[in-house]
């Protein structure tokens, strides 16, 4: 069996260095877009990279009262989860490095690793801001996860498969699913923002209340890894939504245009709203998000049942 290919896949492409670099690029684009929406000038192109290098070079401070092993391991686990997820999605519109039936579910759970790690990290430290932040992060996880999953389930049901690459191929030939399932698209994109704790769903790290939330005690390497992990999640999330709802990703150009358009939308949503309180977030997701997604799912199932 050829051993070169898996090594390349993990270290360079599509996971590893490539996804890290694209994470930084997408973070830059996101920050720049938000800045321009707010009539500011925004960061220069190397700012995310500079931030990362600065954090990696700094001393990692392990506070008193934490479980040190867990404290060091959590950021690594979070990043590892995000990097593994990159193996199953059509980055750059190419065929995923690995693919098997049901990899959609695996990918979604790998993406949730991040939030779980953040929650654990917050609960691990003695800091009061972290504990409140962790509580909120986990509360938010329970509220967006179900609607987000339901929203991605729609295309899966249409394609009749749990395999990301199959759904991607299925989407390419047909009418974009944003047209046939607009509700699913909205729920998916807003769910993605909740997952990434972007404003207005940033109450787990609301700086004006609880400083940096669960990551208050993190510094240096740990903080850097969490940040880059989140950037990677951003790329993967955008890829998934674009592949499912924007007519699939056929080639690198297709990938770039579609994900950047999505980023334009999410950046706009980020700058358009005031931060939601955690109770408002939960209410929004369960009362509106989940119900709408369920309703759409129901319609899809019925339609599909009729056609079969």
């Amino acid at each position: 069996m050829n051993t070169i290919f898996p090594v390349i896949a993990i270290l360079f492409f599509p996971s590893g260095l490539f996804i890290l670099a694209s994470g930084l690029v997408y973070e830059f684009v996101d920050r720049k877009l938000v800045a321009r929406y707010q009539n500011r000038i925004g960061p220069r192109w190397f700012q995310p990279l500079a931030d990362l290098f600065k954090l990696l070079a700094k001393e990692e401070f392990i506070p008193k009262g934490v479980q040190p092993g867990l404290f060091v391991a959590l950021p690594v686990a979070a990043l590892a989860g995000a990097l593994t997820a990159a193996l199953y999605v059509p980055i750059l519109g190419l065929r995923p490095a690995y693919s098997f039936s049901g990899d959609l579910i695996v990918t979604l759970y790998l993406l949730s690793m991040m939030t779980l790690c953040i929650g654990l990290a917050g609960a691990n430290t003695m800091d009061r801001f972290s504990v409140v932040g962790a509580t909120r992060a986990l509360t938010q996880l329970f509220s967006y996860e179900a609607p987000f999953l339901l929203a991605l389930l729609g295309p899966a049901i249409m394609a009749g498969s749990w395999q990301i690459s199959t759904i991607n191929t299925y989407a390419q030939g047909r009418l974009w699913m944003i047209v046939t399932q607009p509700i699913g698209f909205v729920v998916a994109i807003v769910g993605l923002m909740g997952k990434l704790e972007l404003p207005p769903f940033d109450s787990p790290e609301a700086e004006t209340e609880i400083v940096a939330g669960a990551l208050t005690e993190y510094s240096g390497r740990g903080l850097g890894l969490f940040h880059i992990g989140r950037d990677v999640e951003l790329v993967i999330g955008l890829t998934l939504v674009a592949a499912f709802y924007l007519g699939g990703l056929a080639n690198p150009l297709d990938f770039l245009i579609k994900t950047l358009v999505l980023l334009l939308i999410t950046a706009g949503l980020q700058s358009l709203f005031a931060r939601l309180r955690i109770d408002q977030t939960v209410g929004l997701w369960w009362r509106i998000g989940a119900m709408l997604a369920l309703a759409q799912l129901l319609v899809l199932i019925i339609l599909r049942g009729l056609r079969l």
């Binding site: 800045a35 321009r36 929406y37 707010q38 009539n39 500011r40 000038i41 925004g42 706009g268 700058s271 358009l272 709203f273």
Partner: protein, 141 residues
């Protein structure tokens, strides 16, 4: 009732130049009345010391070299100055004014914050005298 009331703003801004001023690269001229660094004209000074009396931060000091011939040296400590312009207001002979061009006053050494105004030979004499004093009594400083 609406959602996203600032949509118009953010879409507009996307096509507009950012409002950020690129300060060190683009330097906007200060307005005419701006209160920057204090300048002193020793020719007009009568040595009445009114400026010193009302200075809220002891930023100025007038050293009389020769009272009869009206030779004064003013020591101005920029780092203490609060730029309130009360001294300018107090001066009856208009020998003080605050510049609207000289306002980038940050410096990495303390010497730049001590400015002497007056005839050059007077300043030189004063500075020589103060270094002598320092040399005589090294304990003080």
């Amino acid at each position: 009732m609406s959602i996203g009331a600032m949509l118009g703003d953010i879409v507009n801004s996307l096509f507009k130049k950012p409002a950020t001023e690129l300060y060190p690269f683009e330097r906007k001229p200060a307005p005419e009345k701006f209160r920057g660094k204090l300048f002193f004209d020793p020719e007009k000074c009568s040595g009445c010391q009114l400026c010193i009396k009302d200075c809220p931060s002891d930023a100025i000091e007038l050293i009389t070299v020769d009272k009869v011939n009206k030779r004064f040296v003013m020591r101005y400590n920029i780092d203490r100055c609060t730029f309130c312009a009360q001294c300018v207001q107090n001066c009856r002979f208009k020998c003080l004014n605050m510049s609207n061009e000289d306002w980038e006053l940050a410096s990495i050494n303390k010497e730049a914050f001590e400015v002497y105004y007056g005839k050059e030979e007077d300043i030189a004499a004063l500075l020589a005298r103060s270094t002598e004093e320092c040399a005589e009594a090294p304990g003080k400083g």
